[in-house]
């Protein structure tokens, strides 16, 4: 963990949270943090601090400041949105007038990756338990909804990323369906899963919990507002 590597990580985080903010605001924050990181490393090295300790200190400053970073970003994104509406700029898409809150971005990525992963995992579990050759009509009850859910998640990821108004409905629907679906699978195959693939069983429980937490976030006012549903 070299200080330079940690500094690069901080820079990547800064570039991530200033993305699509007005260029002067974004550039100022990036350059200011760059100068800070440079001064930090130079000062600590001159004081004889070990590289490991410097790296940890940089990482600690980044992690402790994440909440403030997100709040600062939301504040500037809101201002940008208000200015955009005031100036009556041509709107080329929903995201042109409404900034995407970081929460939505994270939920979209988590839902897309985690959701599809979980569905594929459950499918894999079904094959592990029943074997590819012995799949019968009852397994279609698992396979078909899983494929529908995967498609739902992909469509939802796109809708959330571009802040389509239907993205919110799909997000809520996908999260609720996942909870119902995973619960049904677990009730049906819990014993077999625990015998043949315990990690898969616990992962499914975890995914259901994540979906429930996600459901809570979908009803937050800022998330609803981002989809034009405030």
């Amino acid at each position: 963990m070299t200080p330079e590597r940690m500094a690069a990580l901080v820079t990547r985080w800064v570039r991530f949270y200033v993305r699509d903010l007005p260029t002067p605001i974004a550039a100022r924050r990036v350059h200011e943090i760059d100068a800070d990181l440079h001064d930090h490393i130079a000062h600590e090295r001159a004081s004889g601090t070990s590289d490991r300790r410097i790296g940890l200190s940089i990482l600690s400053r980044m992690v402790r400041g994440v909440a403030a970073d997100v709040s600062w970003r939301d504040q500037h994104a809101k201002i940008k949105s208000e200015v955009s509406v005031f100036m009556q700029q041509p709107v080329t898409g929903p995201s042109a007038s409404r900034p995407r809150p970081l929460t939505v971005t994270i939920l979209a990525i988590l839902a897309a990756v985690g959701g599809i992963g979980a569905v594929l995992g459950v499918l894999a579990g079904a094959f592990v338990i029943h074997g590819l050759d012995s799949l019968d009509a009852t397994d279609a009850v698992i396979v078909i909804p899983a494929l529908i859910l995967a498609a739902l998640y992909l469509a939802f990821a796109y809708g959330a990323w571009t802040l389509r108004s239907w993205g919110w409905t799909l997000g809520v629907g996908a999260a609720a369906s996942s909870i119902v679906y995973i619960t049904a699978i677990l009730v049906r195959d819990w014993a077999e899963l625990m015998r043949d693939a315990p990690p898969l069983a616990w992962m499914s429980v975890l995914v259901a919990i994540i979906a429930a937490v996600g459901l809570f976030f979908w009803f937050r006012p800022d998330v609803k507002a981002a989809f034009g549903r405030a």
């Binding site: 901080v10 800064v14 100022r28 924050r29 350059h31 200011e32 943090i33 760059d34 100068a35 800070d36 440079h38 001064d39 930090h40 130079a42 000062h43 200190s57 600690s60 400053r61 980044m62 992690v63 402790r64 400041g65 994440v66 909440a67 403030a68 970073d69 997100v70 709040s71 600062w72």
Partner: protein, 116 residues
């Protein structure tokens, strides 16, 4: 970070203003982010520096309130990135003096929290 009540400043913001006033009185009119974090660490005896997000958000707010101004330093010396230099405004110095005199910013004029 504690939630802000309307009409008040956060302790970190007050601390920054007081430090800026001290530096001004000792002949250092301008300061930069890392230097400030370092001074705050030394003064408080803490082992850790103020987080990036917390520090620069506070500086940004103080600038919005018209209590600080900032500019990029003219040229990057010693082959390092240019620093953003902050300076206390007259208004900022007044608020810092009030804070130092023991008045809480909550009771001080609303000037402290209204964007310039």
């Amino acid at each position: 970070m504690p939630r802000r009540k309307p009409g008040t400043m956060l302790p970190l913001e007050t601390e920054i203003l007081e430090l800026a006033l001290s530096m001004l009185r000792s002949g250092r009119a301008t300061f930069h982010g890392f230097g400030l974090a370092q001074t705050m660490r030394d003064r408080s005896g803490s082992r850790s520096l103020t987080a990036h997000g917390t520090l620069y958000k506070a500086l940004s707010r103080l600038e919005e309130f018209g209590l600080l101004t900032s500019r990029w330093e003219d040229a990057a010396a010693e082959r390092r990135p240019r620093r953003r230099l902050y300076e206390l405004t007259m208004r900022g110095a007044r608020v810092a003096q009030q804070a130092r005199a023991g008045k809480t910013i909550a009771r001080s004029p609303r000037v402290a929290v209204e964007p310039a």
